[in-house]
Each structure stands twice: as structure tokens, then as C-alpha cells.
Amino acid sequence: MLEVVISDLKLENPVILASGILGSKWSSLAKVAEFSGAIVAKSVGLNSREGYKNPVVLNQECSIVNAVGLASPGAKEFSKELEKLFKVTNKPLIVSLFAQSSEEFSSLPNYFPFASAFELNLSCPHAEKLGMAIGVDEKAVKDCIKAVKEVTDKPVFAKLTPNVTDITKIGIAAEKGGADAVVAVNTFKAISIDVVSRKPVLSNVKGGLSGKAIKPLALRCVWDLYEVLDIPIIGCGGISNWKDVVEFILAGAIAVQVGSAFYESYRAVEGIVKGLNDYLSYTGEKIEELVGLAHGGV
């Protein structure tokens, strides 16, 4: 009932761990994998990156602003860390990649022969020349996906940024580049200012907004993409319970990713999957039958 298929990837349920959440160590990934349909590791680039100084995360009502800054040990080191996962879980592992160019992107998949799929981070809003710097440019998006598709047979997903005038143009570019699915969306550009010190809170000044507050915004992105794309959409942004998941599916997503909700509990995904299961048992439907249903007759 809960199974979904995205390209070649079979998931036992449609709830996936989002990149950058508890995703730097095999031990936390293994714990989250227990209940998730799949897990996405923290985005990794060719070389190691320090990330920004603390404060890098600010939790506020209904949302989180972060500018971790793509901290990463680099592809070689991280591959060793992720390899340890396979002793303890058989859930699909999606490796999230960041790079400055299509050449650099195409050098990365080789480090991760064990990956079930790759997700290109074309959307981190707070790292110079990376992520969103590429993800706002239709041609660059297409080229990067093409380059990665050429070096791997595994499914390749494009994680999109909502910080563009028209996300459907970027989605179409990803599809033309050969993406097997899009992930919508990464965080929204944001800032937070402390009224006592009268300074921005995060060390990087600007960051990205995630959590409950962005759910309706992310949902709209999925809705718009569903109207123009043929490839599957993985929804992401502010999901914290099973009803949110059903909303994303009705808007056009085949699966979802969950990140900030782990602030509430390590077992966030467990509760969502259980709720989803109960709901579908009640209606007697499969996930696939619900995808995009809300569009009908509008």
C-alpha cells in the first residue's frame, strides 16, 4: 500500500530523510533509516569544506533558519563513512552532491559505487558559487544533470530551489537534462535579526528557511511543477505529519522528504509513516492512485 517506485528506485514507503538532517554520520543515518523509505546523506563535494562558524542554526516559532554552509569532509572521506551503513541497513541510500561546475559534478558519482541514486544539490541558498548559484540558471541545471547522467546508470534527482521567479522553467530544464525526478524544494532565502544586539543572528548573515512555516510555499511549488513535468516529483518543505504528506501527494508528489521535523523527535518519520498507513488502510487506496488528484476539475 505504501510502496512507491521512482525511476528504478523501489521504496517501501514514500517518506525520505532530507539531505543535511542528521546526515553526516552513518550512525544517525542508520537510525533514521529504520522507518524511512530511503535516506539522503548530507550534501558532499569533491573537497572538504569547513562550513560557517556558529551560530549556524536558529530555531524560531514554526521555522528554522540555517546557514551551515555545506560543511563536508569531501567525497573520499565521506564515502568511507557512508560505506559503514551497509552493515546495518538495506534501505536505499541517496547521495546528495554539490559542485561548482558540470565537470566537477561528473567527477563525484565514482566515489559512491554503493549509492542507490544521486541527488544534485542545485539549491543550497547560502554557499557562494554552489547549490543555488547553479540552480537559478536553466542552462547550468541542464548541463550538470546531463554530465552526471553520462557517468552513472543510477537514477539522478535534481533538488530545486524555490528562490526563482518561475520554478517550472528550472524543472523543465532538469527534465530536459535527463533528470529522473525533481525534489522540490530546498530552503527559502531568509534572515533573522536580534533586536538587542541589533545584528543578524547567523554568522553568515543570510540563511535558508525550513520547517512548518514553508509548507504552503513548498506545496505551491509542487503544484506548479506537476502541471508541466512528466518526471516524478519528490515534495519537500515543512512536512511534519501524515496529513502534510497526503497534501503533497494530492498536489502531485509521488514521495516526500522530511527534515526540520526531526527537531521535534528522532521518531518523526515513524509517526508519519504510521499515520499514512492508517489513512490508506481506511480509504483502501494506494499512494500512486492519489498523486496529483487535487488538480482534477480545478
Partner: protein, 231 residues
């Protein structure tokens, strides 16, 4: 994040200060806050009482804190994390602190001392590092109290025949020694340890504080039961 004002700064020893705020931070013993020292970094610090932090200068931010004074303002997120649990009435309480690990245990001591028999042990390098007057002192160089480390002193004093509860915080090697000693005696369920892994978010999402067994020090800890950790 909210802001707190410093009401008082007490020098505890050469490179340790106790910073007392003008208001209660509403946390329990064992919990920590993410303290934003404007112009420096945001760092995790344990509550050393309902309204104070006790800081040792080890790097840029903590050294800046050594110079803080009345009226200074800091940003605070938290308190976060799982606190120490309370002992049962029939348990004898031991606090085993190493160095600045005394900070969270001081709050626990102040909370428990009137109702429980509490034996506090503080291991330090030499007598210049004495911070509080109540603990039994162990020094590496023998310049005060027992010559040796905190765990050695604990093993000498502790009455393993009686029901006990042991709380500890300090450097990893010390915690490991204590853990082994308790494990050997089959007493891991009487042990609670506070860990200090490197932290970024403090709220359980970034993953930087995760232990080898997948626990988040900021959210599932920082206080762990002996039976729940694998060193």
C-alpha cells in the same frame, strides 16, 4: 533566541569564571544553553545553577567570556537536552567531576544536597584549579587533597555495598575509566554521564554531535545512562 544580562561575574580560579545572569534560565541540572557571544561564536555551556554558567577559557570565545562583566548581554537558545534524573530516596549520591565538568554537577549538587547524602569529588591538575569548597579534591600533582585522579578517589571512597547513584562529567578518558569501573561491578544502571561532543545546532537536526551509536548528544543527551552508551 532571547537575551540575558550579566548580573555578576565570579572568578573561580585562574581561567574559570562563573557568570550569573539577572534572571532564571529555567532549566534543570544537566541541561545546557547555546550562548551567543556577540562578535564571537555561539557555544554550548551547561547550567551551573538556575541562573549561571561556569566557563573555562580554552579558545577564542571562552577566553572572551573570562573578561565578561556586569551589564554584558548575551544571546541564549535553550536550555536544551535531557537533564540528570533524580536519585531514589534510598540511594547514596556520588558526583564525579573532572576539571570544568564540575559546572553541571554543581547545579545538581545544589539541587540535591539538602535531601540526599551527596559525596562530591572534583579531579583537577593542581591546587590552583580549586573552584568550590564542598567537593573532595583529587589533584594530579598531590598539591591538594588526594594525589591521583577523580576516579581513583571515587573508587577509594565509594561504598559499593550500598545502593548508589553516580553522576559524572569531565574529560573523555576520565569518563571511560569510570564507565569501565562501574561496568566491572555490574553497576552501569546506577551511572549517569554528561557528554560534551562538538555542537552546531543544539536542537537535534544537524548531526554534528552524534555518537557512534547514533545518539544525538544535544537532544537524546547530553546526560546518558551508563547502560545506554557504548564507549
Amino acid at each position: 533566541m532571547y537575551c540575558v544580562k550579566v548580573a555578576e561575574v565570579n572568578k573561580m580560579c585562574r581561567d574559570v569564571v562563573e557568570i550569573v545572569f539577572d534572571r532564571d534560565l529555567r532549566g534543570y541540572p544537566g541541561q545546557f544553553v547555546m550562548l551567543n557571544v556577540f562578535g564571537y561564536e555561539e557555544i554550548p555551556l551547561s547550567l551551573s545553577s538556575p541562573k549561571s554558567l561556569t566557563v573555562k577559557g580554552v579558545g577564542k570565545t571562552t577566553k572572551a567570556l573570562l573578561n565578561s562583566k556586569k551589564g554584558d548581554v548575551f544571546g541564549v537558545r535553550g536550555p536544551f537536552g535531557r537533564p540528570f534524573s533524580l536519585p531514589s530516596v534510598d540511594e547514596k549520591v556520588y558526583l564525579v567531576a573532572g576539571g570544568i565538568g564540575i559546572a553541571p554537577l554543581n547545579y545538581l549538587y545544589q539541587t540535591l544536597k539538602d535531601e540526599f547524602e551527596v559525596i562530591a569529588i572534583h579531579g583537577i591538575r593542581c591546587k590552583d584549579e580549586i573552584m568550590y569548597d564542598y567537593p573532595e579534591i583529587a589533584t594530579d600533582d598531590g598539591s591538594a587533597g588526594f594525589k591521583g585522579n577523580a576516579v581513583e578517589l571515587f573508587l577509594r571512597i565509594a561504598d559499593f555495598e550500598e545502593k548508589m547513584r553516580v553522576y559524572s562529567c569531565g574529560p573523555k578518558p576520565m569518563l571511560l575509566n569510570l564507565y569501565k569501573a562501574m561496568k566491572k561491578r555490574n553497576l552501569l544502571d546506577c551511572l549517569e554521564i554528561s557528554l560534551e561532543n562538538y555542537m552546531k545546532c543544539g536542537i537535534g537536526i544537524c548531526g554534528s554531535c552524534v555518537t557512534e551509536c547514533g545518539k544525538r548528544v544535544c537532544k537524546d543527551g547530553p546526560v546518558f545512562k551508563g547502560i545506554d552508551i557504548i564507549f
